[in-house]
Amino acid sequence: MRVENRKLTAAQKIQQLLKLENESLLVEGEEAVAFLNGQAFVVDALAPQTEFAVLPRNGGQYTFPKWWDTQFVIIRNLDAVPIKDQEKFIQLAENHSVSGVSIPNTTHIIFTITKGNAKLVSRRVYENLVHVTE
């Protein structure tokens, strides 16, 4: 197997990793995903619960997150959410599903945190992510 021994920037690594199907990434530093501007839907991790759930409402209708139909979703500031409250991201990271419903069109979910804050990510979420650093 051929092995390249060269240094890649975080952005280059992310570009490589986006070739992997349905993998979720954890990126330190938001600037590394700047190349996705315009293609990705950015949502703050501190956004209301409705952004990370499919919720029923009257009349047999459901409310879906705004990003539901986009291919790339960037969830920023994961480290700002207390560890105990990060469970809502587990299914996103692990199964690409929300509230038991598979996300139809999103192929990649990228969580961003401030550089050096990986320890503020819940282990349960972290174990399902590919952690990208410089």
């Binding site: 759930a53 499919v54 919720l55 047999g60 990060q86 469970e87 809502k88």
Partner: protein, 676 residues
């Protein structure tokens, strides 16, 4: 002495004096209809040309002594005198009086071995000549090979036309390669008009001298099918099959029903067969007993085994330990529909569920603090999204089990955990109580871990813990399991569990399996068996002792019963490790031991084969009644036999219990125009 040595009692042969002959039905039930002759018996005149096996011979002298009564159409009888009974024209047959089946346990046995599923009991009566030696051995012995032994074996060799006192002939004995053989000159069969055959198919050549091997006397507990002339391990439906002894005919003994003109019932002790037994046979077989064996010890060993023969265990139990993944899939296959997996993060809990169901049959939700309850339990008239998704999968795959997996249960506060009570409760199985029922082919799987495994965990409320039918512990990184999964092809990962029959077809049987009722009954006063308390701090396993914590109660035993019925339906063994997960280590072990006590089948009841069964305790009596209720006798006669059995072994109170719970057999229901 003869009775103790498994010979028939006088009463068994001649009846109790009130009847003209022994009740054939009773006889058949106890001994079976058929038996097989030894080659040694054939060499001395037993004629088995028609069938290799023959029916037991049983006669009863009548007052005038003129002829032999033949019981139940038994058509091969000894007739040394010959001629006064049409049934005797078939030839002269040496007949071995049956051993009392119920007395097997009283006989000091030499050994027990399980041979191809048959339960052979060497009854310890010593050895006696039985089977013809192979041609090669015949040649060697005729050349003088081996060593001449000092003792002899005797056979009743009175010629068929002799009416004098029996003349017993002794046969010389040689030892070769550790085996013992006797030399016999083949007897003329009086009145024989056809060829006679040994068991291996060799024609009996009158006057020729042949060698016969001296063997342990064995009894085989099995079923003889008179149609196929084959033995089977289990009773075959549709045939008249009975428990029998395949070495039925006594080697070389011929029954003289009449001696010196006396054939009254009181004359049994004067018959040839009695004389031969007491004066010759018992002494000879006694002499061949292995005196080195501690009879008492051997008997205890055998009785121990008799109580737990494989075929006769109440339930087949696999005592091996299963890996968590195998436990999980086995439990789902057997109809367990509410399971919780416990284990540290990254132990592979989700992988177990996913590899069992595949992504397409699995719907996952995660509990989280701060989540909107609507996400789990719906809003107004709108069910939660996961429920709709899951119902679609269940509808598209009606013959497969689909899974709702609820993750991070213990990461959520107790108030959040309480949202899933109705989902996991086997008695509810709906999103909220009474609303949005889960499809029948649903398995609900919870995943979580203890505070020891994750410090930010919350305790699991007792009510939720108790609602899980099964708790399975998953150790951190099960390498063997992971390796197996890693090396399987991607499209083979999901096993797809077919919907168990138990969910689709309810059978007529007791609500709770009789063995579970009996176990509970047997442990009414045993601490921690009927109900065990719950320590929220401990979770599924006590970190200090390593012991599993399981909450026992009515619901848990109902689940165990369901599991056992499902295993029976599927013809699968009960897994002891899963029983341990249901009931905890200690009680689970005790329950598995209990399962291995002898079972009771309808065939046993009809055959009167209750040798290995003991109904001394209330629990055993309840078990017997429960099994009897599940037996479904085919007609009133069979039902009467079952009732007679319950009355005899359990008493009138339990007979009343049986009668109050039983339904009429199909034939009776038809006659009454009832619903079957």
């Amino acid at each position: 002495m003869y009775e103790k040595e498994t010979f028939l009692s006088k009463e068994m042969v001649l009846g109790d004096g009130d009847n003209e002959y022994v009740d054939s039905r009773l006889f058949n039930q106890v001994f079976g209809l058929y038996c097989r002759a030894t080659d040694y018996a054939i060499a001395h005149g037993s004629d088995l040309t028609w069938d290799r096996p023959c029916r037991w011979w049983l006669s009863s002298p009548v007052v005038d002594g003129a002829y032999v009564y033949v019981v139940n159409g038994i058509d091969i009888v000894n007739n040394r005198i010959g001629g006064y009974c049409s049934a005797c024209e078939r030839g002269n047959v040496a007949v071995r009086p049956a051993s009392l089946f119920s007395k097997i346990g009283d006989v000091p046995p030499n050994a027990v071995m399980d041979d191809d599923g048959f339960y052979r009991i060497k009854v310890g009566e010593g050895r006696y000549p039985q089977t013809i030696a192979t041609p090669k051995i015949q040649k060697e012995l005729n050349r003088g090979a081996g060593q001449k032994l000092s003792h002899f074996f005797t056979a009743d060799t009175v010629k068929c036309d002799e009416r004098d006192e029996p003349r017993w002939t002794k046969h010389e004995c040689r030892s070769l390669n550790g085996h013992e053989y006797v030399k016999v000159e083949i007897e003329q069969v009086d009145g024989s008009i056809h060829d006679n055959y040994f068991i291996d198919g060799t024609v009996v050549d009158i006057g020729k001298t042949l060698w016969f091997e001296v063997e342990e006397r064995e009894r085989t507990v099995g079923w003889w099918n008179p149609e196929t002339l084959k033995w089977s391990k289990e009773p075959e439906a549709g045939w008249e099959t009975w428990i029998v002894d395949d070495r039925g005919l006594y080697a070389g003994i011929q029954y003289e029903h009449e001696i010196n003109g006396k054939c009254k019932e009181s004359d049994f002790e004067e018959t040839d067969i009695y004389k031969f037994h007491t004066e010759v046979f018992i002494k000879e077989v006694d002499a061949t007993k292995d005196q080195s064996i501690n009879i008492q010890h051997a008997r205890e060993e055998v009785m121990k085994n008799i109580e737990v023969p494989k075929r006769k265990s109440r339930i087949a139990v696999n005592m091996g330990e299963l890996r968590p993944k195998d436990k999980f899939s086995h439990a789902v296959e057997m109809g367990v529909t509410s399971i919780m997996l416990h284990g540290p993060s990254e132990a592979g809990k989700t992988a177990i569920v996913r590899s069992t169901f595949g992504k397409e049959l699995m719907t996952s939700i995660t509990l989280a603090n701060g989540m909107k309850p609507d996400e789990v339990i719906g809003h107004g008239d709108t069910p939660p999204a996961w429920y709709v998704e899951h119902c679609k999968k269940c509808k598209a795959n009606p013959d497969k089990m689909c899974c709702v997996s609820i993750d991070e249960v213990t990461h959520a506060k107790e108030t959040v955990q309480s949202l899933i009570y109705p989902i996991t409760d086997p008695n509810s199985r709906s999103v909220v109580y009474g609303k949005w029922a889960l499809p029948e082919n649903t398995v609900v799987t919870l995943m979580g871990n203890s505070k020891e495994e994750s410090s930010d965990n919350y305790n699991m409320p007792e009510a939720l813990f108790r609602r899980q039918e099964l708790h399975i512990d998953v150790p951190a990184f099960d390498v063997a399991n992971w390796t197996g999964w890693g090396l399987s092809k991607q499209d083979e990962n999901a096993k797809y569990i077919k919907r168990p029959q138990v969910l689709t077809e309810r059978k007529e049987r007791t609500n709770i399996h009789p063995v579970v009722v009996a176990f509970v009954q047997a442990n009414v006063s045993t601490e921690g068996v009927l109900y065990s308390s719950y320590d929220e701090e401990i979770g599924s396993r006590d970190p200090r002792t390593g012991q599993k914590q399981r909450t026992l109660g009515q619901r848990k035993y109902e689940m165990v019963s369901k599991y056992i019925y499902a295993c029976e339906d599927a013809g699968a063994a009960v897994e002891s490790s899963i029983i341990g997960d249901f009931l905890g280590d200690g009680v689970g072990r005790a329950f598995c031991d209990f399962l291995q006590k002898p079972a009771l089948y309808l065939e046993d009841v009809l055959c009167g084969n209750t040798t290995f069964l003991q109904y001394e305790t209330v629990a055993d009596k309840i078990y017997a009644v429960g099994e009897a209720l599940n037996m479904k006798p085919a007609n009133e006669t069979e039902k009467a036999s079952v009732e007679q059995f319950i009355k005899k072994y359990c008493g009138d109170d339990y007979l009343a219990l049986y009668q109050s719970k039983s339904v009429p057999p199909p034939s009776a229901a038809k006659e009454q125009g009832g619903i079957i």
